[in-house]
């Protein structure tokens, strides 16, 4: 209990402290120390949950709840003011609507004595992701933001504000994963929306401001749905105990479907599923640590966290399958778009959207094995993606471009960072590593749910993975292309960037090796409690094979040492022309340049072709969901909502 309040309040205090520190050096030290404490605390928390049942803590003070309500109102007022000064009327309408709903909910019905805080294995794993990955990103940001301001001379230096918001963000995330009371989750949810808005708009350029408001708008739509869910529970459901997450998931689909649908909808907006994917892509204007934070440890993970929590309710219902389909379509469409992008950060953004789609698909299926896959997807994705974002950010500062085609031969220029990038990319799609293990489990989970929808999802997954292989492998190819003319300039990278990158790189490999342990120690007990019985999806024999493969992949690169000694060096074949790595002698004594660009399949997978299609399909699915929920609300029957699998199909 003390620990949980500590991890929620400590980053909050840090944020306040950092906002007051004006001196660079002091701030760096505070960030380093804070990050270290936070990481250790979250790891300790994970250790403490080992072998424990889920623990709920009653907090008998109404003051806290009122405090959070005041926070919500303040956020609302601040956003209103911003909307007014920037003349964003849609934002102000959304904020007003939300404030109205939440005020009604606050004063229209009394508080109940639900437990407010809780911890179980899933929360603890999320906390480790937030605590370790999140604080490493903050450490990384120290060096990165110094560089960033050196590159952007015109921008006012608001770094103390920046770091304060970063830690506030972490605090809110801890709040979300440890809260049991929906109104608390909602309050923290709004804080993350605000933080992301502030961070995306950090640079005061017009593009940044526009994209920040766009992110705010879409997230406020989600927030509105969340507020709607709270109002529904308090006034219409007749079961106000549903304000507790635990009760809500226990009550089952018959009673809980409308609030679950609404909150899952909010989760979709937050985790940037189509049709809401555009905000996450727009968020790329922010400095890289912000992207890293949004994509790996916070924000989007809050969205999928809440949907995964509702899995027991969604399981086996038409509604769950519709959510799963939204995830599946998003996975396929976003993977295709990623293949057509040459901008590294956009590739990463779309790949995040795609992977979150997969998690949503798993949550929608909602069986024990699907949730096993979903939680591992969250974990593996968080480490690999944060690693990639941090590496790309550093590379961008060194080579002045975030284009994949200009990262050619980077292995010679920044060997350590490039190796870490290769580990990250490997972690995203290569077989013995993390994401693929999770994908493997996902296929099995879809199959076990064994419905035509499951098969359709597998189809989407099969085609989507094929595209995934395409865009990751070509990126790897660019990185390792032989280029002896590049000079090693790793020395110019600051330690505060280099060290977090290496730690996360190490973690990426470590979680791949430790996944059977994590599964046995935390996931299986967790799933056992919720679904009755659960076992590791990937059998013992296969686990051993996978681990052997990991070892093999780690060992094989050492053969480079052998090969580098052996053999007569030779040049590449350019139709008999002589040349260097970048040039060859053309006709008439001309020296021609060689540029080897990648394939992008622009005529098939361009953003403008694929995005509208994906968006339209997902909107159609959402309308379907809305109709089901609406009809059930109006008629007061839940028959239509609880259509079981057989009935729906």
């Amino acid at each position: 209990m003390e620990f949980i309040t500590f991890v929620i309040l400590f980053p909050l205090l840090l944020a306040l402290l950092l906002y007051t520190i004006r001196k660079d050096r002091t701030r760096s030290i505070v960030v380093y120390a804070g990050a270290a404490i936070l990481s250790i605390a979250s790891l300790l928390l994970l250790y403490l949950t080992y072998g424990q049942e889920a623990t709920y803590f009653q907090i008998q003070t109404e003051t806290f709840s009122y405090l959070l309500f005041i926070v919500e109102v303040l956020i609302g007022a601040y956003l209103l003011w911003l909307a007014y000064t920037h003349k964003r009327w849609l934002v102000s309408v959304l904020v007003l609507a939300q404030l109205a709903l939440i005020t009604v909910a606050e004063f229209g019905a009394g508080h109940h004595t639900e437990p407010y805080l809780f911890i179980d294995e899933f929360s603890a794993i999320m906390a480790v992701i937030i605590g370790v990955v999140g604080s490493l990103i903050c450490v990384y940001a120290v060096g990165y933001m110094r560089d960033w301001h050196a590159h952007h001379k015109g921008e006012p230096d608001q770094r103390r504000f920046f770091f304060a918001v970063m830690f506030l963000f972490l605090s809110a995330m801890f709040g979300i994963v440890f809260s049991d009371n929906l109104s608390w989750i909602y309050a923290f949810w709004e804080v993350t929306t605000l933080c992301s808005f502030l961070l995306i708009g950090y640079s005061k350029s017009e593009e940044a401001t526009n994209n920040a408001f766009w992110a705010l708008t879409l997230n406020l739509i989600g927030g509105l749905a969340f507020a709607g869910a709270i109002v529904y529970i308090k006034f219409f459901s007749g079961a106000p105990e549903m304000m507790s997450l635990k009760e809500l998931t226990l009550l089952g689909p018959v009673v809980a479907l409308i609030p679950v649908a609404l909150i899952s909808f909010a989760g979709l907006t937050k985790s940037a599923q189509m049709p809401f994917s555009t905000w996450l892509v727009g968020a790329m204007v922010a400095p890289t640590p912000v992207s890293a934070l949004l994509h790996s440890a916070t924000m989007v993970k809050a969205g999928v966290y809440i949907i995964v929590r509702f899995a027991p309710v969604l399981q086996g219902t038409a509604l769950g399958l519709l959510f799963a389909l939204i995830g599946g379509v998003t996975f396929f469409a976003a993977s295709c778009i990623a293949a057509s992008q040459s901008n590294a950060k956009k590739v990463l953004a779309y790949s995040t959207i795609a992977n979150l789609g997969l998690i949503v698909a798993c949550a929608g299926i909602g069986t024990g094995s699907a949730i096993w896959a979903a939680i591992f997807l969250i974990l593996f994705h968080a480490v690999a993606k944060s690693l990639l974002f941090m590496s790309v950010g550093t590379v961008e500062h060194r080579i002045g471009s975030r284009d994949i085609d200009s990262m050619v031969g980077l292995i010679h220029r920044l060997p350590i960072i490039t190796t870490m990038m290769l580990v990250g990319i490997g972690g995203m799609f290569l077989p013995p590593f993390g994401m693929l293990i999770a994908k493997w489990a996902t296929i099995q989970a879809f199959l076990l749910s064994f419905t035509p929808v499951g098969v359709v999802l597998i189809g989407l997954l099969a085609y989507g993975s094929a595209v995934t292989v395409f865009f990751w492998a070509k990126w790897m190819g660019s990185l390792i292309r032989y280029d002896p003319d590049q000079e090693n300039e790793e020395g110019k990278v600051s330690f505060s960037e280099l060290i977090p990158i290496q730690i996360i790189g190490f973690c990426t490999i470590a979680v791949c090796i430790l996944f059977p342990l994590i599964s046995a120690a935390f996931l299986i007990p967790f799933l056992n409690r919720i679904f009755g019985e659960a076992s590791s999806i990937i059998g013992t024999e296969n686990t051993i094979i996978v681990l052997l493969m990991v070892l093999l992949i780690v060992a094989l690169p050492f053969s480079i040492l052998y090969y580098n000694r052996k053999g007569t060096p030779t040049s590449q074949y350019i139709a008999g022309r002589t040349g260097t790595a970048h040039t060859f002698s053309g006709s008439l004594g001309m020296t021609r340049t060689i540029t080897l660009d990648n394939y992008y399949l622009g005529s098939w997978f361009a953003e403008k072709n694929v995005l509208p299609i994906g968006t339209i399909i997902c909107i159609a699915l959402l309308i379907f969901i809305g109709t089901i929920a609406g009809v059930s609300f109006l008629t007061g029957t839940s028959d239509i909502v609880t259509l079981s699998l057989e009935g729906a199909l």
Partner: protein
């Protein structure tokens, strides 16, 4: 896992693959009105490659080819040891990613385009490998080859239940064998595409490793097709022989297509035939 089968695969596969490839070259020659090389020609070729000088573009390339070979062998060992079909597919995919990296690291225009096309080939093939495993799971209730064969021996006729999946697999078989019309990334003896495409910069013993890996892969692919006939060994062998002759015939009688057509057609075939087959099974099985 069946250790005997793994060892048999490790030892015999290159010889079986080499003989198949030798017969392939003779049959091809006969179809073209030629005499063709001796049946042991593939072994002579590989033997020669290992006696050649080691040229080195960079150490990375040799490492990638070594990994390609090792992972193909791993995939084969899992398959013939009776392991998980999905894992076989994933290992094959990983092996090919390493092959692509070997092509990319050379910094040569020919091998670069070859590598990009190889990636497109992987992309064209990948959905089929996953759907293939899924189809067997639906019918046999397990991903493991051992169980699938067991159930086949008990009387499940996979070929009647999964004709679409079978056809899809044959379609990508041509891509995997690097035979015309899909020999885009690199081609077989006597054909030239982009000089030698992906393998342009791979020479001497390293190229020998690549050739051995390909022999292993041919055996794995034949095995993957073979389990459709589990329980009927004679039929299985006849089908494989016929199928391979068909591939040779297609190789001799078609011209190389563009990569766009390759990707589109294989995705279409997989979607219309294999996926529909699985969907139908999921509704009625």
């Amino acid at each position: 896992m069946n250790l005997i089968w793994i060892i048999l695969f490790l030892v015999l596969a290159p010889f079986v693959g080499g003989l198949i490839s030798g017969i392939d070259r003779i049959v091809t020659a006969r179809m073209q009105g030629r005499v063709g090389p001796p049946i042991l020609q593939p072994f002579y070729d590989i033997g020669k490659l290992f006696q050649k000088e080691k040229l080195r573009i960079n150490g990375m390339q040799n490492f990638c080819i070594l990994s390609y070979l090792v992972l193909i062998i791993v995939a084969g060992a899992i398959f013939f040891g009776g392991g998980d079909l999905l894992l076989v597919g994933f290992s094959l995919m990983l092996a090919h990613v390493f092959l692509v990296l070997a092509g990319e690291t050379a910094n040569s225009p020919y091998s670069h385009i070859g590598a990009q096309r190889e990636l497109l080939q992987v992309m064209a093939v990948e959905p089929m490998l996953i759907l293939y495993a899924v189809a067997f799971y639906i019918v046999a209730g397990s991903f493991t080859v051992a169980t699938i064969i067991e159930h086949g021996a008990l009387g499940i006729s996979y070929i009647w239940l999964l004709p679409g999946v079978f056809f899809g697999l044959i379609y990508i078989f041509t891509i995997k064998l690097r035979k015309s019309p899909f020999d885009l990334s690199t081609s077989h003896h006597g054909h030239q595409e982009l000089v030698k495409g992906l393998t342009t910069e791979i020479s001497g013993p390293t190229f020998g490793l690549y050739e051995i890996a390909h022999l292993y892969e041919v055996v794995i692919l034949l095995g993957m097709i073979g389990i459709f006939f589990a329980g009927a060994p004679l039929l299985c062998i006849c089908a494989l022989v016929l199928l391979y002759l068909l591939e040779v015939f297609v190789d001799c009688s078609t011209a190389r297509v563009k990569w766009q057509l390759m990707v589109k057609s294989s995705w279409l075939v997989i979607g219309l035939v294999a996926f529909v087959n699985i969907l139908a099974l999921s509704l009625f099985w």
